[in-house]
């Protein structure tokens, strides 16, 4: 029997669109039989009008006021029939008080985007200069939310087994050398999946892919004369919509299908997808910013305001989203559920996440309800939740971010301590020992385990790995801010010359330092994250804040793969090594004892003398051994692995711990050796001639594996 509520009860003034009362939930525009249900919340608006456009047309084709008798509570809702879904764009006009002192900024002359818009037009193709006279810049469209996922399902790889690869969608394939058919797009990434598989990563973390405006604050660089744009995209226009300009099909409005197809194919190849989400602020800026959506719909709800009605700026970007207002909180939860449900996303990394734990006056909360809701949300129950546990307002919560056993953190201390150790700073061995164990000093007290720590040495924010070993100072002049922007505490060392050089000794040392860094990262407990391009020695010419550089400074130059294949091979084998050795991927922290009866503690510390680590303030060397019988908390058996790190500029002989009868040490990697002897295929390690000690080169890392001794074959001539 046909439902009676499928039929219109009245018609709009222009006579084209029949109407009926709508349903308040879900918010946004939802396709229902015969029409579209529109629903939008505003607590303080006195009236609301739906504004309909034909796609791309400058003027609306129809404006329909929500009848007040159809409003339910603070929600304006109605169903509009006969809409051509593919060719309609919609917005709202909200009437209400303009009283900034009390937080209200209603302006009915503005056309506002739906905060729940699932497709947003207006910046359909990256870099096409918009018409600034357009009265409605970011246009909500109606989304088909079905997709043929076949049997796809989020992969649910345990977080400690992930190897995350942080990537900018456009920068990954935009460079002409990428050789893909659709450079700089989601479709371009698909073409590079064989490369990602060869490298061995099993998770891509995409820098923001929510709709943003690449022309926000665009300007010409006074130094290079190039157009500077909002390239990174940490400035949301809409939380539910994809960046159309990242889709090759964006000009057809089909970004949703293209991105879902990317996720599906990545999953088929065993690669998870984590999204970098930016819930700390929006693209509307401060008092002087544009009306896009939130400020005109319900300023007081969506933003943290000072008592005088100005915008708090904990994000450093002009405004702060009012995350712990119940309405905004629900919007964020709805949004993440949508990405998990409709896009099969495996996890989220929250930009400046401590803002999510501030109350409506900006004060940090003890039990922030938003973070708690996300930790316990049933739909997000298997999604990774990763916090960038600091914000621009000075709240630094690495190690103390409210976690409920669910949240992991970008471990900023890992980055800084390993960098300092790598460049030879004194007094670092104690800290490095903590970092390598998954930072029990930070996460042990709450029993959060090693998997609370996302370990990284480089990320999009800061130097690339090649630049970390090539520059002592940032070189951000091209950003047009007199080199004032970007971080000054880089803990980098240029190996003797500032910038690019063809000095073979310096280049050899830089390559070795890169290998030292990646070796330490991949033998550390916790989840490693690699910055895309580091595996082929990507440089940004010393720019450590390339947020505005949509050009060769940021794009990955794929010709480096041939030039720096030595680095790529080292990365590839280190990743493979980590994957075959569960002893490197424990969920919990070490107990510093032998709890399986193997005769060795789960982790033991060594120095140039076995069993004696030099913890003194003048030490630059440290070695450790992981007992294979304690892998994954003693549940699986692995090889015992010994790692020695000599960050001194002199070589040092390390006495090796003695292994049981019949077992011996096999060389996996020694960064001081030249290729092909620097690293072996996992499983093809080479038996050490001298089982008692090993001479580590200056600034070098050694990784050896304990395996049963096999009868040695006579040496071939010329073999090392």
């Amino acid at each position: 029997m046909e439902r009676v509520d499928l039929h219109p009860t009245r018609i709009c003034k222009c006579g084209r669109f029949p109407l009926r009362p709508g349903k308040p939930l879900p918010f946004g525009a939802t396709i229902v039989p015969g029409g579209v249900n529109f629903s939008i919340y505003s607590r303080y608006a006195t009236s609301c009008t739906l504004v309909l456009f034909e796609k791309h047309s400058p003027q609306p084709c129809c404006e329909i006021a929500f009848p007040d008798e159809w409003r339910i509570g603070n929600v304006f809702t109605m169903v509009v029939f006969n809409l051509d879904y593919d060719n309609i764009e919609y917005g709202f006009r909200m009437d209400g008080p303009f009283d900034p002192k009390n937080g209200h900024r209603f302006d009915k002359t503005k056309i506002l985007m739906d905060p729940y818009a699932k497709v947003i037009g207006g910046r359909d193709v990256w870099g096409v200069v918009p018409d600034w006279n357009n009265i409605y810049q970011h246009r909500a469209r109606i989304c088909f939310d079905d997709f043929d996922w076949e049997n796809d399902h989020p992969l649910e790889i345990p977080i400690e087994d992930l190897i995350i690869y942080e990537m900018h969608v456009r920068g990954f394939t935009r460079h002409p050398s990428s050789g893909v058919k659709h450079p700089g797009t989601f479709a371009g990434i698909i073409e590079k999946i064989p490369y990602l598989k060869e490298l061995g990563i099993n998770c891509v973390e995409l820098m923001p892919i929510h709709e943003f405006d690449e022309f926000e604050n665009s300007r010409i660089s006074p130094v290079t004369g190039k157009l500077l744009m909002n390239y990174w995209g940490y400035s949301n226009v809409g939380f539910f919509a994809l960046k159309a300009g990242y889709a090759a099909t964006g000009k057809f409005g089909m970004q949703v299908d293209e991105f879902k197809n990317l996720v599906k194919i990545l999953h088929k190849n065993g690669i998870e997808v984590i999204l970098d989400v930016v819930f700390n602020h929006t693209a509307e800026g401060n008092e002087n910013g544009p009306y896009i959506s939130y400020r005109g719909i319900d300023n007081k709800t969506y933003y943290m305001l000072t008592p005088d009605g100005y915008y708090f700026n904990f994000s450093g970007c002009g405004n702060t989203l009012n995350c712990n207002n119940p309405i905004v909180r629900n919007m964020i939860v709805d949004c993440l559920r949508y990405w998990a449900t409709d896009y099969h996303i495996d996890g989220f990394r929250f930009d400046l996440a401590t803002i999510l734990g501030r109350d409506q006056t900006g004060a940090p909360m003890h039990n922030p309800p938003l973070l708690e809701s996300l930790a316990f949300d049933p739909i997000l129950g298997k999604c990774k939740l990763i916090a960038e546990a600091w914000d621009a307002g000075g709240l630094y919560q690495v190690g103390s971010f409210p976690a409920w056993g669910r949240w992991a953190e970008w471990n900023g201390k890992y980055r800084d301590d390993i960098r300092k150790f790598l460049k030879g700073d004194l007094g670092m061995v104690g800290a490095v020992a903590q970092r390598i164990q998954g930072s029990p000093d930070l996460y042990g007290w709450q029993q959060r385990g090693a998997c609370a720590s996302i370990n990284f040495i480089t990320a999009h924010d800061g130097f690339t790995l090649m630049d970390l070993v090539s520059y002592n100072y940032k070189h951000n002049e091209a950003n047009g801010e007199d080199n004032r922007d970007g971080c000054n505490d880089n803990y980098s060392w240029n190996c003797g010359y500032e910038g690019e050089t063809d000095d073979p000794n310096i280049m050899r040392l830089r390559f070795k330092q890169i290998k030292n860094a990646i070796a330490m990262l991949l033998v550390s407990q916790g989840t490693p994250m690699i910055l895309a391009g580091d595996e082929i020695g990507k440089t940004q010419k010393g720019n450590n804040n390339a947020y505005c550089q949509d050009n060769e400074i940021s794009w990955i130059d794929w010709s480096l793969l041939d030039k720096n294949r030595e680095i790529f091979n080292f990365f590839k084998r280190m990743i493979a090594f980590r994957k075959v050795h569960p002893v490197l991927r424990n969920r919990g922290h070490f107990r510093n004892c032998d709890y399986v009866g193997s005769g060795y503690a789960d982790i033991t510390w060594h120095g140039t003398k076995a069993w004696y680590a030099d913890w003194s303030g003048t030490s630059r060397v440290l070695a450790f051994m992981l007992c294979g019988k304690h892998a994954k908390g003693g549940t699986v058996e692995d090889n015992t692995i010994y790692v020695a790190m000599n960050m001194h500029w002199e070589p040092h002989t390390f006495e090796l711990p003695q292994m049981p009868q019949g077992m011996g040490w096999y060389l996996f990697a020694h960064t001081d050796y030249l290729p092909p002897h620097d690293i072996f295929e996992p499983g093809q390690e080479k038996l050490l001639d001298n089982q008692k000690e090993f001479l580590l080169g200056p600034r070098s890392v050694l990784i050896i594996v304990c395996k049963p001794l096999v009868k040695k074959l006579p040496k071939k001539k010329g073999e090392r």
């Binding site: 088909f144 659709h182 089909m254 879902k260």
Partner: protein
């Protein structure tokens, strides 16, 4: 509304010719036409796309519908699509289950 497609069914082969644009304005009509052959035994489902200039999200959905409801056990062909249409089909992943050819032989 102008019909921008034709559907013919003969001897286990359904032939669908597409012209101009396949978008929300005509996709549901095509879907209705296709529903009429749901119960028939179909070995091949052939979309002739030489004159198809544009396919939208709604258009893609008809093809997915056709595969799922009509052609589960049959082969789905897409014949001589224009480059712009082919790109959209590839980027949205529909090429996984379709045989794309320059010409069709009975």
């Amino acid at each position: 509304m102008e019909s921008k497609f034709s559907v013919n069914y003969e001897n286990g082969v359904a032939k669908i010719e597409l012209f101009g644009r396949l978008d929300a304005t005509n996709a549901s009509n095509l879907q209705e036409e296709l529903k009429k052959i749901i119960d028939k035994k179909i070995e091949r489902l052939v979309f002739f796309a030489k004159d198809l200039e544009y396919i939208s999200s709604a258009g893609l959905r008809v093809i997915i519908f056709a595969k799922q409801k009509i052609g589960v056990n049959s082969k789905v062909y897409l014949i001589s699509p224009q480059e712009v249409v082919l790109n959209v089909i590839k980027m949205s992943g529909l090429d996984n289950f379709m045989i794309i050819e320059d010409s069709y032989k009975d």
